[in-house]
Symmetry: C2
Amino acid sequence: MAVELKDLTKRSENYSQWYNDLVVKADLAEQSAVRGCMVIKPYGYAIWEKMQRQLDAMFKETGHVNAYFPLLIPKSFLSREADHVEGFAKECAVVTHYRLKNSPDGNGVVVDPEAKLEEELIIRPTSETIIWNTYKNWIQSYRDLPILCNQWANVFRWEMRTRMFLRTAEFLWQEGHTAHATREEAMEEAVRMLNVYADFAEKYMAVPVIKGVKTANERFAGALETYTIEAMMQDGKALQSGTSHFLGQNFAKAFDVKFINKENKLDYVWATSWGVSTRLMGALIMTHSDDNGLVLPPHLAPIQVVIVPIYRKAEQLAEVSAKVAPVVEALKAKGISVKYDDADNRRPGFKFADYELKGVPVRLVLGAKDLENGTVEVMRRDTLEKQTVPFEGIVDYVADLLEDIQNNIYQKARKFRDEHITIANSYDEFKEQIEAGGFVLAHWDGTTETELRVKEETKATIRCIPLDGDETPGTCIFTGKPSARRVIFARNY
Amino acid sequence: MAVELKDLTKRSENYSQWYNDLVVKADLAEQSAVRGCMVIKPYGYAIWEKMQRQLDAMFKETGHVNAYFPLLIPKSFLSREADHVEGFAKECAVVTHYRLKNSPDGNGVVVDPEAKLEEELIIRPTSETIIWNTYKNWIQSYRDLPILCNQWANVFRWEMRTRMFLRTAEFLWQEGHTAHATREEAMEEAVRMLNVYADFAEKYMAVPVIKGVKTANERFAGALETYTIEAMMQDGKALQSGTSHFLGQNFAKAFDVKFINKENKLDYVWATSWGVSTRLMGALIMTHSDDNGLVLPPHLAPIQVVIVPIYRKAEQLAEVSAKVAPVVEALKAKGISVKYDDADNRRPGFKFADYELKGVPVRLVLGAKDLENGTVEVMRRDTLEKQTVPFEGIVDYVADLLEDIQNNIYQKARKFRDEHITIANSYDEFKEQIEAGGFVLAHWDGTTETELRVKEETKATIRCIPLDGDETPGTCIFTGKPSARRVIFARNY
């Protein structure tokens, strides 16, 4: 299938269309036959796999273990926690029958009415309920605590408007669910995992994030406190990239999970949950990519280096291949993934465009002239700069260059982000700044009412109350009432 | 929670109960609140993860890539391939609605009748249909082939009688789905993946398997040929441990997937699919474990070595810990997972029983006497033999011992398997041998009718027509009709 680069919409023309085009053309994902569900294609999945491996290692380093809980949840479980059911009931896929049968008219199959479930089952939109129903049997005493489980799973939320990776009915994620003996310990855990997410976003995705707390209105359904990392996309909109929830004793109370504490008294267990999803793919794409295609951070690129030979005759190819072979081996030995593309059914120009589209961080090109001169042409995807460098020492050069690119795209994203954070001191100023795009630091009176009014009028939501930064009090831009500190407003995905 | 070893049923008393006890007591899995669905607990999941990592590496070495396809499948897709729908329609979980709403009586939530789907969706029992509907758009010419995709996923089959790991409504698996330009290439692929499965079973699980072909009656619904690996459990019953299917052009025809071949003619695409599941956990448990608990092959054990200190006073513990620390580091440096269990709230005897139950291959015990003598006590889980060996050189000793255990349990299982394969030359002999347990090599006339009659009368099924071994023709033990070769009969899980 031909790559038609010309068809990639320019970001300046239509950012949203550019994103949709890019997801499809870079072979990351495509719409499936099922409404709101995507197919994650091999190239997109390879990036997700790299994310998974790294996150999984970070979870294990912080003492967590993986487990697996059922896909289906009895409908009644959902109702146990009042806020939780309120938050999820309206978007549940419901299993009502367990059998099909041949259609009486001989055409295909129909649902067998005799195979109706006594209690309907819902496909997990998140697993707090089924997990806390399970934890009940695992916990008797403080000696059984903490429980630090994570699961990698698919979840389902019947969203009305979907966009690939950003908002799909089915998505892949991990959900950590921990149980603790004290409030303090659970709070610490929630913050610990927020920090793990922030580290991962910054060091691997090269996506700068702001850590903060959600307002009551934006909290997870059933949480006492929701921590978030918020990233800024190139169009100035915010993307919530990961959340970590302090659930208090809400789910322990809903599922009657008590334990004997160190003082030999019965108490409810304290909980957290935290998750990131394939939505991170959206953040990755929209933070770094350009009008030529994907720009991938070297730490997550499935192919970090591609080598393309230029040749006319078979002997020339043989010469280049012989020269390249030890470089490929040496790069692999350093743990760098490299592809030598000597396919003869695609011209070099086509290959160049394709690897640019796919965001491969470094491209090496080697031809007859290079063999003569002892050189190699190096192209870095982040700046598209080409340089001819000595072939001698190319392995170390490439290894350094990959780190340089990783750092450069982070700095670039950070600079862009910082340049698009403004401070509003009046509602007029605020509206102007929101319209212009980016994050706006403004005072807010702390009420949901004000938050919703501002959202209605400007489409901006409070992304978070930052954990760091200026904590000077002031007056709300909307009501003039006292404000404890500035919060971050933005339009968002 | 206390480990009550005494409650583990003996294999000789009730093999089936022993298995169920062991799964729960070794913390591998437990029943969930949802009928037929299990919770895979952290220790069980850690073993599954090791299986996944290894299989995934083997799939990638053979040129496969991972992708992800939707959980839900439109009902009509299932009907496209006649055998396929026949095989799966009766055990489908069916999603009919996409929303819940508050119950009018104020009690919990009910299905919102206004949120009924136009076409019902089924939870994938396997993904051939949704995947071939997707491949249709990926394939135009032979240049787009082969497609070599795998997915790690959960699937759902509404089984009436379930047993943890062996047969559960929801299970975890991988399913490979490949598309090829020629019949030969697809056949080669199906056999290649059978060999990957057999290698994995023998080298990592230490489970000897027989490779063979399924009879028409036991074929996957929609396949032209199903290859299988069959293992023998300690009770002599067979466990089908992995299957690889040559699907011919069945799904290509059902989903109209054509391509331009090298001769510039339009043809249907050739297909395979292949899968192994969490059922492998059952095979692992039932091949090696004993009345003391799990016996895990070192290549898949989450903890390969446990070190338990024996001490009276804190100073003694400090001495032992100091002595052990460099050994732990050295073992880790060799890629061996080791746990130093100096927890002071469990007595050594309790720890010993617990790690035996959990199947940790090697246990080292170090006390004051050992410090004096420069020794350490080594226990190997497979034989339960204890030996006191010099502390000097313990790292290499342990590394060698792990390989020795891996090899020993494989040989032991192989010997048991081989001793329980018998040859029947008459139906009377056959019935006796089947009753005694094990695999029976017998002649069969090749008809489904005979196969079903034998099954009805003896509960034995044809596990496979072996790929290797004696190919001498003979006469069917049941009908006396000509038989091309002996096949393997057994009772099975």
